[in-house]
Symmetry: C2
Subunit: 523 residues, 2 copies
């Protein structure tokens, strides 16, 4: 054994049997075959094709970055190549990407991030003490005091504590437990992870996942990936996209005939629809989930984006806790937040968290196991999340500037929400519900029968046809309602309100002019 081990240690691999070993012939034997084959090159069938690939992945659709966005990219290249168009730039109003639209990052957040990234800066006089305090706290909780170490699969402990403290304060004292907080790679990652654990069964016992229509297409995409059953409930456009529990009942009743409805997804404030749910409505939804034994997913990433003076954000967690023990100790809930929206718009860091309520202890173990396979969420995104839940407080050096920056972003969004709603509703054949929250308008558009026919001739959904024309004629990129789902025969598009105010006015004027010409052309 010593001799062979010695040989082995020299890094050369003896063909003689190893110390404990069966003899195996060397790989060298294959060489001639290689040479022989090289003589007759030919083109072979691919192994991975549309026919052979995973059919669930093939079935996935994601409109927010779909064909219309690819087209926008092509047009941008044409403009760069100097090809003349009736416009000089493409305006990407298709995705909630605030900083891409010129919104400036929150100074304090980036200061803390820079300090965590390059700790030498902790000695620099040009950074405020409160930012250094946050950075030191985060680094002390990181392995080797570095953002470059893996964190625990569930996220950095002290950041989970800060998230729990934030939730407790947000919900007026309803306690949150750091053990129920999981940091995620953006909210999308948290939502797909929890759905991945929830989905099971085949045939008529396949898991049904209830989602609003219109929806954010992450949901339909993940449901398709997981081969679960999408169960649609329609929001009430006539009641400014309110959620109506009778419609939930209708949806679950019909679903039970072909699947096992187990999950109810809520987006509040709504994306793409912008409604903000009343406390009463949330209570009704929770009661419905209790009654029907549904696991609740509350997508609350727009919780800071509420504009309508008549609306307030109520978290599902808080309302649940106030409905009495029968609910608060039984209803299973996962709620999601993110660094990407709100007033900070830090999409690129892919930061987020998920809070679970009444999750079975054994499932918590399963969740940590599943997360550990991907090791951990980006620690930089976790740090960004920490600043969001632990911002400067009165008396701290950075407080005033932080509040000024935060308020300016939010009041601007509120102005733009009102402006967008008002201007759209002045256009004949466009109706826009109030943008109570989030960052999108989802106006309903009238498409004349002639245009519908033209679309069908191009083998396109009528609203896709409309949005493509809008893009080609104005450079404005919005997403057709068919990418989010809508009632049969109705047509919409989703447009962000993120362009700077003056630019947004131009955009709205262009949409108006386009729409009138469109009606004229196809009347």
């Amino acid at each position: 054994m010593q001799r062979a081990a010695a040989l082995v240690r020299r890094g050369c691999c003896p063909r003689t049997p190893g110390p404990w070993g069966r003899r195996q012939s060397s790989a060298a034997a294959e060489a001639p075959a290689v040479l022989q084959v090289r003589r007759e090159p030919s083109r072979r069938e691919r192994i991975l094709t549309l026919e052979s690939m995973n059919p669930q992945v093939k079935a996935v659709e994601y409109a927010v970055r779909g064909p219309i966005v690819l087209k926008a990219g092509e047009i941008e290249l044409e403009l760069q190549r100097g090809i003349k168009k009736p416009f000089t730039e493409v305006i990407r109003a298709n995705i909630g990407d605030a900083q891409a639209m010129g919104q400036q990052p929150i100074t304090f957040l980036r200061q803390v991030m820079a300090l965590c990234t390059y700790p030498n800066l902790l000695d620099s006089p040009s950074f405020p003490e409160d930012a250094k305090k946050r950075a030191r706290r985060i680094l002390q909780a990181c392995g080797g005091n570095s953002l470059g170490s893996y964190s625990a699969s569930q996220g950095v402990n002290c950041i989970r504590e800060d998230v729990a403290a934030y939730i407790t304060q947000r919900d007026g004292g309803v306690p949150a437990d750091p053990d129920n907080v999981y940091l995620t790679t953006g909210a999308s990652d948290g939502i797909s992870t929890i759905l991945k654990i929830l989905v099971s069964g085949g045939g008529k016992s396949r898991t049904g996942v209830m989602i609003p229509i219109p929806q954010y297409p992450l949901y339909s995409a993940v449901i398709s990936e997981l081969d679960a059953v999408q169960v649609n409930y329609y929001l009430d456009e006539e009641n400014c996209w309110a959620l109506n529990v009778n419609e939930l009942r209708r949806a679950v009743r019909e679903a039970k005939e072909h699947c096992d409805p187990k999950v109810l997804c809520i987006i509040n404030p709504g994306n793409p629809t912008g409604q903000v749910q009343s406390r009463k409505c949330i209570e009704d939804v929770i009661h419905f989930a209790w009654e029907e034994q549904l696991f609740l997913l509350a997508d609350e990433v727009y919780q800071d984006n509420v504009y309508s003076p008549d609306c307030r954000f109520h978290s599902f967690k808080k309302v649940l806790s106030e409905m009495g023990p029968e609910y608060s100790s039984n209803v299973e809930l996962a709620s999601f937040h993110s660094t990407s929206k709100g007033y900070m718009g830090e999409c690129g860091y892919r930061g987020g968290y998920m809070e679970v309520v009444n999750l079975h202890p054994e499932i918590k173990g399963q969740l940590v196991k599943l997360l550990s396979v991907r090791l951990c969420p980006p620690v930089s995104g976790q740090a960004a999340m920490d600043v969001v839940v632990n911002p400067p407080v009165p008396g701290e050096e950075s407080f005033e500037q932080f509040i000024r920056e935060k308020e300016s972003v939010l009041s601007n969004l509120a102005k733009k929400a009102k402006l967008t709603e008002d201007l759209f509703n002045q256009v004949p054949g466009i109706h826009c519900n109030p943008l109570q929250g989030a960052m999108y308008a989802f106006p309903r558009i009238f498409i004349p029968p002639k245009a519908v026919a033209a679309a069908q001739a191009h083998n396109m959904a009528p609203d896709m046809f409309y949005c493509m024309k809008l893009l080609e004629e104005t450079g404005i990129c919005v997403v057709p309602g068919s990418g989010f789902g809508q009632r049969e025969g109705t047509y919409h598009f989703r447009m962000t309100i993120l362009p700077p105010l003056e630019k947004l006015k131009t955009v709205l004027q262009k949409v108006k002019d386009f729409h009138l010409q469109f009606l004229e052309k196809y009347k």
Copy 2:
């Protein structure tokens, strides 16, 4: 319509039919039910339980962060609470987390990251010009010149260009196309994404995925999640874990009886086994993949971690390109790299890339679609990846310091690799193949029959029993071989060589003493 719209715009939702609307009864109807229920609280069955959860997720195992690591956490808490142990600290040698073990970040990398994070620093004299140049280039390619914007789903364009240039240089001029480069959230994310697309079929046509044994458990975990078939091929421990093509033939032949083998995964340099594949062996593997029509996955995250003077890293991409058109234009390959390993050890940023070769154009579209559902990889991780592939060059201000830091990390690792191999091989009943590359030792350990019996009595795998005892008696946390797979009746553990040299010596001495006592106790 105007009247209703006006009402709607006030943000209050009229119960009267909307302008285009069916009347729907209000959600208010549910309230009494809520009150009624509150009277009789009770504990109900959970919806999400071990019985009802996704069975594929339940089947997932991930040893690197499994029971042994949970135990390590408990022990750390006990130490903090002042509970006496035969040791004062837990040494986490279970995971390749360099910076957690005290390795310092590469200065240049963190400087560029800090500049990208907080662009005000671009005016600071305390940052070198070459770092500022890199940061400006990255920011100019980001929406709104900010890391806070979403990037393209495939990754920032100029970073993909830098990756392609790096690959071209690494492979001695073999061209790489930025369109074939996809930035990822660490290598794990890229590997699971491509496997997700590849997997299909049911029953006997379920996709078979060939993985080495011992393997890195990400593979078995993802295969389980996707309900694919794990096809094991055993590395040849007697030939220092060499890959033998005859064993591949054996594995694929047997697999064809119950599934459709479609993917061959290679880890080079090996994890946990540390072997570095010879060029000849890679050629044989590629020929085998061509012959058997297998899609190749080359996990090359340790490409910078080669220590044995007799070994060199050869990329599958390069060898494939040199085997002639029959191979280079037909064999489908995806290879993976990461910011987490090498000399930089930036695990926390979750940066990585995947290069695809001969991927069908339609599949590229499907891949981008699938990636777009998660929007984009963390842009900070993409920036870190950019610095790794685009480091300072001779003549640039930071070049000397960069090289000094890089060489010091790699030469230290080489020293520790040799030291670990030598010391382990001095212990009776431990045999350790040469650590040619990567960052782990995977020694084979002799476990006496009495200990095997004791383990079975505790319902534990014998090497889990061994590692638990090691942890409890020395505080050293390593991962049992059973978590990676090993030939029936053989036992191993995986230990990182990342602790600082002096600490590593102590660790190895402690393992030796423990092992001798263990043999004595169970002889």
